[in-house]
Amino acid sequence: MSDLETFRQETRSWLEANTPKSIIGANVTELDGTWGGKKATYANPDMKVWLDVAAEKGLTAPTWPSEYGGGGLDSEQAKVLAQEMKALKIPPPLVGFGLTMIGPTLLRFGNEEQKSEHLPKICRGEIRWCQGYSEPGAGSDLASLQTKAIREGDEFVITGTKVWTSYADQADWIFALVRDDSSGKKQEGITFILIDMDDPGVAVSPILLISGKSPFCETHLTNVRVPVKNVINEIGSGWTVAKALLGHERTMIADAFGGAGLKPKKKSTRSFLPDLAVTHLGLDGEQLADATMRGEVAQFEMDSRAFALTVQRTKDAARAGHQPGSESSMFKIYGTELNQRRFELIVRILGPDALGWEGEGFDESALNATREWLRSRGNSIEGGTSEVQLNIISKHVLGLPA
């Protein structure tokens, strides 16, 4: 029996033995997953138990080296672990930007001291992280950021405002881009630094969106004193670190929309959107009563399927060892636009019943759809606007002149 098979069986038995029964099959969404940190909350008490045993075993960060609290698994084993957890319906013990963003960044760019300082706390869910990139004046043009970092001895004194800092109000530490030097090209003089949000001078205020409440915050830094040893990579080399992380983020967003609109509803011969349309517009013979809507629903389903097939093609190619191209920009654009089209269609199918903001006389599901439609308008903006992605495609994929 192959080592991988042995590993699979060991893993399964360990999972069966150590996972609290109450959380098995628990449907954990992004929101009620375990994000950890000092203000940690848990969907149910056993999720805390599960976090601790999993962390102990190194399963919160399966592929990280064990000396930093990871599981030390290779990608094959990690895939097996994921498959087994899926099979047993076990929710992830821990989620969040520590695992997906700053952790990988530290592994690639951090020094020994930084890694042993921060990675174990991430693995154990003790510290929750957030990202401090964008600023009021620096959106698509991120490199024009102005948050000042003035060197004073072995400290940087940091002042500026970061926007779109997701979940900053619940985070303990923030990894931020700051400007230590304005003399050269704007991409130079940028430093990637880790800031303890308990430090004096850090203030967080949530951002209200057109769709209502949001995880986004504005994070104000006023003369925050940060030790120079918190700088990742070299001083002034922050742009390199940031770019690596941005491409990564783009892929995550694209993945999130990879399947847009393809969830078939149970107990129906139709997929979700056609079913919704038939429910609200009725049938005319065998066909959806509103012919125009019928065409639009079909067009959307077909574009979604074509997109999903393209995502699959890229993954199959990567698995077959082909160098991945710059597909992430295409996926970001098309995936987010599909999501927007999806909610726009849902809202148009519901018609006037979709006009509710809250309260009396509107279905909960319709109210959600409306909020989701509004929220989806941000998809083509956050994580690099569609325009920026098209610039990237034009330059890096099509090789058109600047």
Partner: protein, 380 residues
């Protein structure tokens, strides 16, 4: 028909734009929203506008009106739409008022129209029920004969400007089945009568709207508009008028949303230049400009067609609503995208217009509904 403003109309348009911009900028809409006040508009301010003669524009002189047409009313409403001023020109003046003017008997007209026109009374029209989508004849509310009157029972949804209304006109079924054009009768129900309840609803565009419940409300025959079983045609006629007035509001809204976007394109710096200097955005702005221009033409044509009883009127109403729906949604989607991050925040006004665009699109039929109607009217 002439698609240009005559001198009187130019004057009305300018007066309206200046007055509304000065007395009801978007910031006022924001304050009203944040105040959470249920009515969502100021009855006092509405009366002030009525005193300028605005609410009487489309009504005959004998009832206190100015004897002008929708073309003129639309100039007022366009100014309101530009600034999101919430006063009830659509719900009361156009919907309630037109129903009274076109279907009311002498007594009803005499009793209500003058005060609709001077702004002292608000009359709403309950044109829809939940789940009916855009089918005016899908009516579950019933009116059963009892003695020499009727008893009304049922529930109406999102009745525009019904919160704080003095009366609500209720289309009810006196015969036939839900969906039939015939068998519909319109009743004027005064506020406070036993069995009537008005429950404010919170909409994405903050427009004054309410659920109107009727539990055994008794009505006299004197309260009937358009005749027994004859309300269907009247309802269609009134909604065509309301659609055109809504189109004017949309033209105002899309124009302002586009202006806001152009301003931002000219002032926002990224990559060391104004973002308005990016050709890709310039060309997209050019496309929005064209669609807004086309939408404006269709709205003007539809209003004039209804005023002159043009044979093509129904087609032109559908044309206007389809084009205005598409153009307003395009202008606001592009607007938010070009504002980017801040466009998504509640702090900026562009989001208000995006919500208003969607709400207007989904009122009285969206673009596909009216494309279908256009084709039917064209025998295909």
């Amino acid at each position: 028909m002439e698609l240009v403003l005559n001198e009187d109309q130019e004057l009305i348009a300018k007066t309206a734009l200046d007055f509304v911009a000065e007395n009801s900028p978007v910031s006022r809409f924001r304050e009203l929203r944040d105040s959470g006040e249920e009515r969502g508009y100021s009855a006092k301010f509405f009366r002030e506008m009525a005193e300028l003669g605005w609410a009487g524009i489309p009504f005959e002189e004998e009832v206190g009106g100015a004897g002008m047409g929708l073309a003129e009313l639309c100039l007022i409403v366009e100014a309101l739409g530009r600034n999101l001023a919430p006063e009830p020109f659509l719900g009361s003046v156009t919907m309630g008022g037109s129903t009274l003017a076109l279907g009311g008997n002498a007594a009803l007209k005499k009793a209500w129209l003058p005060s609709v026109i001077d702004g002292t009374k608000i009359v709403a029209l309950a044109h829809q029920e939940a789940g009916a989508r855009y089918d005016l004849f899908k009516i579950g509310t019933t009116a059963t004969k009892s003695g020499d009157g009727y008893t009304l029972s049922g529930e109406k949804a999102q009745v525009l400007d019904a919160v704080g209304a003095d009366a609500v006109i209720i289309p009810a079924r006196t015969s036939g089945a839900s969906g039939d054009a015939s068998g519909i009768t319109l009743f004027l129900v005064e506020k406070g009568v036993a069995g009537l309840s008005v429950q404010p609803q919170s909409r994405v565009d903050c427009r004054n709207a309410a659920i109107v419940k009727l539990e055994g409300v008794s009505c006299s025959e004197a309260a009937i508009l358009g005749g027994v079983d004859g309300g269907g045609a009247l309802l269609e006629q009134v909604i065509d008028r309301a659609t055109v007035v809504l189109c004017a509001e949309m033209v105002g809204g899309m124009s302002e949303a586009f202006d806001l976007t152009l301003e931002y394109l000219k002032e926002r710096d990224q990559f060391g230049v104004k973002i308005g200097s990016f050709q890709a955005l310039q060309h997209r702005a050019g496309r929005v400009y064209m669609e807004v221009e086309l939408a404006r033409s269709t709205a003007m044509a539809a209003a004039r067609a209804l005023d002159t009883g043009d044979a093509d009127a129904a087609k032109l109403v559908s044309l206007a609503k389809a084009k205005c729906s598409e153009a307003y949604v395009l202008a606001t989607n592009e607007g938010v995208q070009m504002f980017a991050g801040v466009g998504m925040t509640d702090e900026y006004d562009i989001g208000f217009y995006m919500k208003r665009a969607r709400a207007a699109e989904l009122t009285f039929g969206d673009a596909s509904f009216h494309r279908d109607r256009w084709a039917k009217l064209g025998n295909y």
